[in-house]
Every structure is written in C-alpha cells, then in structure tokens.
Symmetry: C2
Subunit: 237 residues, 2 copies
DNA sequence: AAGCCATAAATTGTCGACAATATAAAAATA
DNA sequence: TATTTTTATATTGTCGACAATTTATGGCTT
C-alpha cells in the first residue's frame, strides 16, 4: 500500500482496477512520462477490452496524468519545469485556503490526531534518518488531514482526487528524499499551532511558505535531473 | 452562441457534440438539477450509442456537472447552498491567484483590450439598463481574459474548463440580473488599474472581494429561491 | 535526391449485444 | 398488516466488430 489514504473509492469495477494500476505506473514512471498510449496494446496488457481501458483513460485525464486529443490519442503528461511551477502555484493557493478553513473547522480531536501524527514521525527512527518512503507518506498524510479538516468537499475533491497524483508524480520521479525532512517538521509544527489557535490567516501563510519551500526543493532536483538528461542526450547523439 | 468564449475545443467527434449539448441543457436547467440520468433514454434522445453518451458523461463529471457512482448511475449535480459556498471559496482563491499573476504577466496590449472591453460595455445602452445576457457575457469575458492573462495553463484549464460551467449554472438558474451591474463595473475598473500598475497583491485582493460580493449576491437570490421552493412543496403536499 | 501524391496499415471513434449488478414487484412468512 | 425473501425487470459495465480518421509506406514527378 503505497498510497493508502488517497484510495477513498473502493475498487469495484474492472476499469477502477485498470485506473488505479495505470495511475500507479504513471506516477512511478513505469509508464514513461510523455509516452504515447496505445489503446490496443494497453488493453491487451491489462486483459480488458478497449472500452474498459478508455474509461480508465478518461479518469486519468481528469486527474491530469494523461492528455487526450480527438482522433489522435492519449499521451502521458510530460514533467516540465513550467508545469511544475504552474501546478505548485495552484497547489499553494488551494492548500493555503484549505489550511485557513481548517483553522476554523477542524475538530479538537482532529487537531490532537494531527499532533500525535507529528510526534509519531518525530520519534520514528526512520524519519530521523531521512528515509524516503516514510517521509513521503508522512508528509502526504499531514497535508491530507488538513485538507480534510477544511470540510470543503469541493476543495477536498480538487486536491485529493484531481491534483495530488500529479504532485506525487513529480516528487516520486524526482526522487524526493532527505535534507528537507527536519525543516519540514518544524514547518508542520508551526502550522499545527496556528490551526490550534484558530489563526486562519497565519495558518494559510505558513502553509503557502511550506509549499513554496517544497517547490524550491523539487525545482533544484529538477534542474539537476534535466542537466543529466541533457548530458545523456548529448552522449546518445 | 451563449458561451462563445468557453468553447475553446472545436467540436469534432460525436461525443463532443453530446457533451456540449448536455452541458448547455444542464447549465440552463433543461435537464433538472439533481435528476437521475438514464443512459438508454439519453442515448436515444441524442441519437447516439451508449458508449458515446458515456464518453460525454465522463467529461461532464470532470467539470462537476454530474456525479457518478459505480453500478448505480449518473445524477445531475444538486445546487445546494453549501456547495455554492464551497465552490466560491475555491473560485476566490483561484481567481485571486490568476489576477495576481495577470498583474505580472499580461501584455500591455492585453490590458488595453481589457480597458476597451470595459468602456465598450459602459457605453452599451443595454448594460446600463441592466439587461441580463450582456451583463453575464461581459462579466464572463472580463474574468476569462484575466484568467488567460495569468499565463498559467493549469490554472486556466482548472477555471475555464473545469469550474466555470458549474458557476454559470448557479448564476443562470438563480436568474442573475441587474442591480449589481454598476457596482461590478466599478470593481472591474479598480482591478484593471491594479493590473496595469503591476500591483499583483492589490489586484488579488480586489478580485477576491469582487468575487465575494458576487457570492453574497447569488446567495441572496438562492435563499429567496429556496423559500419559493419550500412554499411550492408545501402547496403541493 | 527531395518533395508531393496515392495507397496501405494502424489507431481511434462508434455501435449493438451480452453479462453483472441494482432496483422494482410479487410472493411468502411472522 | 408489516416485514422479509424471492422473483422479475431495468440499468450499468464490458465486450468484440465495424466505420472514420490518422499515420506510415511506396511510387511518382520535378
């Protein structure tokens, strides 16, 4: 279970399964970014009909993981620097809002749960060592709970259902690990305090900063990643 | 052409046409809010197969006009007061962002065009008389141009493709007309000035206020609408 | 040899039919 | 009569095949 919290919808139908499987493969890079998707090929690979596969593709499109053009086909989204900036600008605005609303709408026990989560991760040795998986999961969980705490169903859907997998895709494929862990914890703590004090304005500001810092961190990785790519291309030619 | 500016995608395929048609009918209320959608019935009505209709339904779902449940079916979204608040909270955050970005990224000629648009509408007699259609179209056009001016493709998609039809649906079905027209123009003017001065912070704030005022206006209509509904229900029983 | 046009192959869009699930109606039980 | 169980109906999910469009191939002209 790599992303237990984001699978709110139980998998009942066949296209559900294909959707979830493809989503994971795209986010993790098994299906390469920017690559064209052949309906017949993928349908055969997942052992379903084209109709079922297309249903899954539609849903992947609505969470921005593939792009579709009429009569031409489907392509996995390309991870560009421009798009990273664009998505994080949107994320910052939306999660800022979520955090402000959470300061008003979170129940005391939810806030307590959030504090416990933070302590839990602080005390976990693995986090101190900056291990990637737990950091990722913990961070996601933290953000996820605050978003839910906004009690705004539309916002929750927008962030958790539509946008988060794309963000995850950047994080996973850029290999986000390490040095920001401790800093992120301090930032998380400050955000929780603001929420607990029902200071929505401060909570919003802190969350926006937190996300900006995260963006800057990814951007660095991305630039490195791109120069590696450039070198590889140069060697290949 | 009720919404010439929001049909960025040319209608090539059959499901495109069904999507656009159904979207209009849902927004205008010909297909009632909250009503269940029967695939066989609608497919027959539009003269297409169920597969084609389902393609359209998927796209309607991704712009929040219908809701789908596995093995149960599709329902037109219900216009509740809660959802109105939720959607406008999101809209405010996103268009606020768009406006801030526009202050940095709009070209001088785009700003000029925006000013001309405003003058044009001020001088149009119909607007002064508070006629509904032009007010709606003009307001939409204004917001649309600023969003585009942000130059953030993801944000543009989110607002113009995913969210705007739902907002329009509230406005249309609440019968938004009249008294806010002149006030809205002053607000629009102030926003343009802020953008022209590259004052993103102010532009964002003004846009958020403008949208809040719009929300309050709709909310009033909505409360009235709901009490009418309640009386009707009471009489019917 | 380069570019253009016609043809062939492959891919996407659309259809009608069948299977699985959910809803409605009828029968049975308490 | 009210409630549960069973049966029947209707709706959604899935499939394979055909039509329309795009892309690739091969031949022709300059």
């Amino acid at each position: 279970m790599t992303q237990p919290l984001l699978n709110e919808t139980s998998i009942t139908t066949a296209s559900d399964k294909v959707f979830v499987d493809m989503r994971r493969e795209i986010v993790e890079g098994s299906i390469a970014q920017g690559s064209k998707i052949s309906e017949p090929e993928l349908a055969k690979r997942y052992g379903v009909s084209r109709a079922t596969l297309r249903e899954a593709l539609n849903r992947l499109e609505s969470c921005y993981l593939v792009e579709r053009k009429a009569n031409i086909g489907c392509r996995v989204v390309a991870l560009t620097a421009e798009r990273l900036i664009e998505v994080y600008q949107v994320r910052s605005a939306l999660e800022g809002l979520a955090c402000r609303l959470a300061a008003d709408n979170m129940e005391p026990d939810e806030v307590q749960g959030l504090k416990q989560l933070l302590n839990q991760h602080l005390q976990t040795q693995r986090v101190k060592e900056g291990e990637s998986y737990y950091q990722e999961a913990g961070d996601l969980d933290f953000h996820y709970r605050i978003i839910k705490g906004s009690k705004n169903a539309h916002l929750i859907h927008l962030l958790c259902h539509d946008l988060y997998q794309l963000i995850r895709m950047y994080r996973v494929q850029m290999g986000m690990v390490g040095p920001r862990v401790s800093k992120a914890f301090d930032e998380h703590l400050a955000i929780i305090n603001a929420i607990e004090n029902h200071d929505g304005e401060l909570a919003e500001m802190l969350m926006k900063r937190h996300i900006s810092a995260s963006q800057a961190n990814i951007q660095t990785k991305f630039d490195r990643y791109q120069s590696v790519q450039a070198v590889q291309n140069h060697v290949a030619n």
